[in-house]
């Protein structure tokens, strides 16, 4: 049961252009979404997150957009840099009032982003 889906296993983007990574989810209880970046032989590294009460969150070159009605979120990286080449994971959690603080994250399968110099 794939509650979080990243349908593009890979994406190649020219350096300096915009990278757009997409993620869809099925569980309407999810209320917090995160993007993690992973290099080989390292653990996932937190990039940016968004609460379901927002539709956009920006941090430097990274912007996450959330469309709750479509159950879709996307990560925009602009401008893309060679160091951005990594696997990007979308993740989601469902808090509720009683469960806040227990971050059981459901991950997507990841998208491998390659930035072409």
């Amino acid at each position: 049961d794939q509650q979080v889906k990243q349908n593009s296993p890979s994406l190649s983007v020219q350096e300096g252009r915009i990278s757009i990574l997409n993620c869809d989810y099925t569980n309407s209880m999810f209320d917090y979404f995160l993007w993690y970046k992973k290099y080989p032989a390292e653990g996932p590294t937190f990039l940016i997150s968004i609460s379901s009460i927002k539709d956009k969150n920006e941090d430097g070159r990274f912007t996450v957009f959330l469309n709750k009605s479509a159950k879709h979120l996307s990560l925009h990286i602009v401008p893309s840099q060679p160091g951005d080449s990594a696997v990007y994971f979308c993740a989601a959690s469902a808090h509720g009032i009683s469960n806040f603080g227990n971050e059981k994250l459901t991950f997507g399968t990841g998208t491998r982003l390659t930035i072409i110099p």
Partner: protein, 115 residues
């Protein structure tokens, strides 16, 4: 200095053997987690550990798995009798503080290979 340190980085074991993976989450946090990633698949939640007790566990976390924090510092994941399908990267994580309480900080992982 890494915020979450995991040992060993890679362990090869025979099927049926016991394995202990260790994690040292620097600084005091109450929530700790184990996740795993089978090669080519998604990162999966195994168990969360709060105040020295299991808070939640997934269906993957069966009787062969156990977690404990024996000395208040190390956080261990034990697999009692390993199976071939236990081969994966195992990630320890702790709850974030500076970056937000909802954010998990992961270690670099321990690669387990079961032969």
């Amino acid at each position: 200095e890494p915020e979450v340190t995991q040992t060993p980085s890679h362990q090869v074991t025979q099927m049926g053997q016991e394995v202990i993976l260790r994690c040292v989450p620097i600084s005091n946090h109450l929530y700790f987690y184990w996740y795993r990633q089978i090669l080519g698949q998604k990162v999966e939640f195994l168990v969360s550990f709060y105040n020295n007790e299991i808070s939640e566990k997934s269906e993957i976390f069966d009787d062969q798995f156990s977690v404990e924090r024996p000395d208040g510092s190390n956080f261990t994941l034990k697999i009692r009798s390993t199976k071939l399908e236990d081969s994966a990267m195992y990630f320890c994580a702790r709850q974030g503080v500076n970056s937000g309480a909802n954010v998990l900080t992961f270690g670099a992982g321990s690669r387990l290979t079961v032969l």
